[in-house]
């Protein structure tokens, strides 16, 4: 993967990569998102934090078009996703990848079959051997050295998560949605994941991460949001959200404030 400098703020397109407009959503009869509006900028890393049951996963799935809003709209680069044609939706899927919280690998398929699926769908010109090599490389990059012919049930939850992450990025998408991506990973694998995210950032990818781990925020967040009870109570540039937290203690960002300001400063200096 080529390594470029992260684009300067001026290079960020005015139209957000993904924008939710007054989205309310329901799952199994319960309201999981309530009139939520947010714009995730292109080529930036947005991290939304929230506790268990706060609506993080619902927000991410709504943003990725996996959870249809009951009201409101979700736009991909300014186009309402509900109005995408079949071809346009296929293009969106080719340009995006999704890491599920619980891996969500296809149990009846091998690891190779799971991770290579986006390649066979979106880059059919790649031969089987090239696709297998691409899968092997990305899995190795994440620290997986097991067999590619194994089924998900044969792997540990951490290894399954690695395969899920690999499946989301193997086809080199522009936008990567990550739902608690470090859950289930050991320390080494988490470091490999951080390294992968840094690489994706350096290549100008749009990352949208929802998590309850503050580490992602202070390491990567250009934009930081807080979600609670299906409502986005804060969203903005990292430092601004932290500054808001100073004034609004109910945002409960103590841990992030303690460790995050220094990291943010370091991060700013590196840009």
């Amino acid at each position: 993967m080529p390594s470029d400098e992260r684009p300067a703020a001026a290079a960020v397109p005015a139209v957000p990569a993904i924008e939710l407009k007054a989205v309310s959503a329901y799952s199994a009869g319960y309201q999981v998102l309530s009139e939520l509006s947010v714009a995730f900028p292109e080529r930036r890393t947005s991290v939304v934090m929230g506790g268990t049951g706060s609506g993080k996963s619902a927000l991410l799935k709504a943003a990725a078009g996996l959870l249809l809003p009951g009201s409101g709209s979700v736009e991909f680069r300014g186009v309402d996703m509900a109005r995408l044609s079949r071809k346009e939706e296929a293009e969106f899927r080719a340009k995006s990848g999704f890491v599920f919280q619980d891996a969500a690998l296809w149990s009846d398929t091998t690891i190779l079959g799971n991770v290579s699926m986006p390649l066979s769908l979106h880059k059919p010109w790649m031969g089987k051997s090239d696709a297998a090599e691409a899968v092997r490389l990305i899995m190795k990059r994440l620290g997986y050295d097991g067999g590619m012919a194994m089924r998900p049930a044969d792997l540990s939850s951490g290894e399954q998560k690695m395969a899920s992450i690999a499946r989301a990025v193997v086809h080199d998408p522009d936008i990567v949605f990550m739902d608690d991506p470090a859950v289930g990973l050991d320390e080494d694998a988490t470091e490999q994941l951080f390294s992968l995210i840094e690489e994706l950032e350096s290549r100008g990818k749009t990352l949208i991460i929802v998590t309850n781990a503050s580490e992602f925020a202070y390491r990567f967040a250009d934009m930081l949001g807080i979600i609670r009870d299906g409502r986005l109570v804060a969203f903005g540039p990292y430092e601004e959200t932290l500054a808001r937290a100073e004034r609004e203690p109910e945002l409960r960002l103590e841990r992030l404030k303690a460790r995050g300001i220094r990291a943010a400063r370091r991060r700013r200096e590196s840009l």
């Binding site: 996996l66 899927r93 599920f100 296809w106 769908l121």
Partner: protein
């Protein structure tokens, strides 16, 4: 909530489910038309479905068909001479096996085997977010998961019905050999002399309709699972119950149309 409100709420929910089911069926038909136009990764799923639903059910269908054919022959051979109607034996065999029991029993076997398997498998995939993962990579779950099962189950029931008919009539011949031996040529001549194209066509139409019912109901129930693994066996039970009821209703309607 009083009794009237409960009834109203239940009726509204059922009406809404029915509309949702019809919408699902319409989507399946649309995606089926596309399936043959485009090269699909779903072909592998289709082959697996035909193997499971059709090939692996050959043995149980054969045993059942031979037993039913034999039973009809034993009953007919003992009962019909009492009314002086021994010559009706072949007509009864053809009507009961080819038009009625062939498609009906095959559909019941497939419902019990494949209907439950499809509903519980898809339900499990919903719970483990595998369906969402298909959507996330750009695969339409209807075209990739439902259509191959729809085509596979329907084609399998039609083929298995023909297979059932052959074994049912052969089973009858086996009993004939025990009761009053006759050359196979004569038996087949009598049988084929009675068999009409309408018998075959009606049996196959019924089989195809039953196949559509089993596959659509089972996939619909599988997708109806929301989030809990405890919903998965419930989906299986509903798939079987609803399929049985709809198959019997369809059978009655098709029989009424046939004799109208």
């Amino acid at each position: 909530m009083n009794i009237l409100e409960r009834l109203g709420s239940s009726a509204r929910e059922r009406g809404s489910n029915l509309l949702y089911g019809l919408g699902f069926f319409w989507n399946v038909l649309k995606e089926t038309a596309r399936f043959f136009r485009k090269s699909q990764v779903g072909y592998k799923v289709l082959i697996m479905q035909i193997l499971f639903t059709g090939y692996e059910a050959l043995a149980i269908s054969a045993v059942m068909a031979v037993a039913i054919g034999a039973a009809i022959n034993v009953i007919g051979t003992n009962l019909l001479p009492q009314f002086g109607q021994s010559q009706l034996m072949y007509t009864i065999l053809i009507i009961v096996i080819t038009r009625e029991l062939g498609p009906l029993l095959t559909a019941f076997v497939i419902t019990a085997r494949s209907g439950t398997a499809i509903a519980t498998q898809l339900g499990g995939m919903v719970v483990s977010h595998e369906i969402e993962a298909y959507v996330a990579v750009g695969l339409n779950p209807i075209s990739y998961l439902v259509v191959p099962r729809f085509i596979g189950v329907t084609a399998s029931i039609v083929i298995l019905t023909v297979y059932f008919n052959i074994f049912g009539l052969l089973g009858s011949f086996a009993v004939v050999q025990v009761i009053s031996p006759m050359p196979i040529g004569e038996y087949l001549r009598n049988l084929l002399g009675t068999l009409t194209v309408a018998d075959i066509v009606i049996g196959l139409i019924k089989a195809a309709v039953f196949g559509v019912i089993v596959s659509v109901v089972s996939t619909f129930q599988g997708f109806s699972v929301n989030r809990a693994s405890t919903e998965v066996p419930v989906a299986g039970i509903r798939a079987v119950g609803q399929s049985f009821i709809l198959i019997i209703l369809a059978d009655v309607i098709l029989t009424l149309v046939q004799y109208a």
